[in-house]
Amino acid sequence: MTIDLTQFHGAFFDESFEALDLMESTLLSFTVGSPDRESVNAIFRVAHSIKGGGATFGFGEIASFTHSLETLLEELRSERMAVTQPICDLLLKSVDVMRAMLDAARTKQPHDAQSVTDLQLDIERLILKHKAGAPGSAAATLAPSASGAAPASVEWLISLRPDPEFFERGTDPARIFRELGRFGSLVVTAQLDALPSYRAMDPKRCYLSWSLSLLSNAPETAIREVFEWLNADCELTLTAISSPPAPDGTQTAAAPAPAAAPDATAPAPAIEPVQINAPPDAGSIRVGVEKVDELINTVGELVITHAMLSQISLGVTGPAADGLRSGMQQLERNMRQLQESVMRVRMLPISTVFSRFPRMVRDLAQRLNKQVELKITGETTELDKTVLEKIGDPLLHLVRNSLDHGIESAAGRAAAGKSFVGTIHMKASHHGGSIVIEVGDDGSGLDAERIVAKARAAGLVGAADKLSEEQIQELIFNPGFTTAEVATDVSGRGVGMDVVRSNVIELGGKIEVHSERGRGARFLITLPLTLAIVDGLSVAVGDQTYILPMTSTIESLRLTPSQVTTIADGREVFGFRNEYLPVVRLYKFFGLIPRARALHEGLVVVVEGAGRRVGLFVDDLLGQQQVVIKSLETHYGRVAGISAATILGDGSVALILDVADLIRSAAHREAA
């Protein structure tokens, strides 16, 4: 029976990426010179596990690279080599290279093989250099003296016949033999019988094969482990031709080890099960996101069914009515508990996003020649997986901006009487049904004068306009706005902050900025905990009910005719908090017959989206409630102004408005 190993690839990649995150964070916390022993062990386990997985699943290059890395880590683990800053840098580069290789393998895309080879050679050169310099190490690698092997040594005969692509896959037998030599006395004989003339050969192909004789007291598992990552790249046989002497000194008969002499045509020996970075809680299981989503969807349906039954139960009379209503109340409590439990399954700690920043800050600070400390708090705060996946890039923009524009140079900080080490902080916390993420720094803060000058130069504000502090800070979210004199590859092209805001708004959140000149700036992002349920305001338009997300809703008001002005092109505007907002009549937008046509007969709900505010004219407000989001696009495609649908308690369908899209579409239609 053959097992399709590709079914395990997804888990291997997920676990390997998690393991690399762990390796990276551990490396960043290393104390150069005297790292915590357990940290070195943890990193070693990461490399070892990825190597094993890479070999098992046929990713030879990954296995080969991690094999070299593991050799270096073994030297560090055994304290034969000291952990220096260059070695830390090399290990961090290895994390990058492994990520790139894994990503390429996952997406079946090519990767930069040269950088892999270069780094692998650097690692091996480092090991060799160290060994060459180690006292008493000369010529010990290949054939230690016979006395070096313990008296109870076994002679192993090993035959290795690689397949022709062996070298091209980045596998180097010299590495394997070097490692094998550490177990005892090794004699290597190369077989050149298949080696053609140098003129006729393809020099990238492997024509050599080897016979090895190893006298060692190492256990068979240890010897096999040296070859484990070769997998199907070669024909390998391993035979014990003499057994250890019995305790009484009598020699037992030579016999092959039970599983040590497989058929010559058999692939590499079986590999022990691989376990990558076992989570601290051994009671957890890994479940596909689609299964969780299916569960959430079903619970959503239950919530709707419950709401329908509740409505029906209100009309029930008779002796069973009280019992029914009591049962419905109990069901409601259970439903709420079930819903909360299921929603928690999708929640992940924000540390999965925050964890990428220590490395980024370290590297970028080095490039910018700044000294920066990153402080992270609240990393255990949990957030919906989808929100987490989408918040990474906006946070990246903010941190890069802080590093590049916020934190001053060491000289600048000294002149301002600050510590020469700047601080960037990232915080996450729950506030009611939302999560607040804060990114701040103790740098120079926003330069209001410069922002206004740039905005005037760009024509964003008039020469005589007087702006409040809030309005000035708002300017940085304009597309293309930057105060940087020179655009670098770090930041300054003005494509950041507007993208940050639009990404946050797309997630149903908002972003605020608080800045104090000379003392730093703080960006506060408020996000909903989940995208599966939304707090909504239900409004009536004609015979339809629409849901307005509460995060987009500012205020509702009834306008008097005197508050409304019709401008030249027929558009209606009304005054709202020192500005004029256009009126968007929802019945016109959706082509419905309204109950109220005059503005004073209905209500206007002020909403915000796409950086603009408008007043939505509706017939009535029906109430505020949590609604379960049902995607429309799966069945009906994209509908202008609509983000999704939901099912109300009475079983009717209500559409959830996409405020940003609605504002954009309304403006477009009016302009047309």
């Binding site: 180097d172 050149l192 140098y198 050599l208």
Partner: protein, 113 residues
């Protein structure tokens, strides 16, 4: 009757003669991805050259594929009776040759039967 042609003994010009010796300089990177360059240089060597010097002083990177190619070259040139010399090889080269069991081959010793 045609006048008898004077027999002219043809002599080979110096430039036609195979060079007595040639030097092959190995490029800095001879790992498997770049080994084609080294093979091309080896193939440029005349067949009848008496002495070949393999200059490894520029060699920065090599792997088992490099040693395999040089082993084939050494064996073939040895069979042809060419005197092959190497210069500039480092300790890492010697170590790798020993690890791969190619020390004797690279030293130009005849292959074991």
């Amino acid at each position: 009757m045609k006048p008898a042609r004077k027999k002219v003994r043809r002599t080979r010009r110096t430039s036609d003669l195979p060079p007595k010796s040639e030097v092959i300089v190995a490029p800095a990177d001879c790992t498997v991805r770049h080994i084609g360059a080294l093979r091309d240089r080896l193939c440029e060597v005349s067949d009848n050259v008496r002495t070949i010097t393999l200059d490894l002083r520029d060699l920065q990177r090599f792997d088992s594929a490099t040693l395999q190619l040089i082993a084939a070259f050494t064996r073939d040139q040895g069979a042809r009776g060419t005197n092959l010399l190497t210069c500039g090889h480092c300790a890492a080269w010697d170590e790798a040759a020993a690890l791969l069991g190619l020390t004797a081959t690279l030293a130009g010793a005849p292959e074991a039967p």
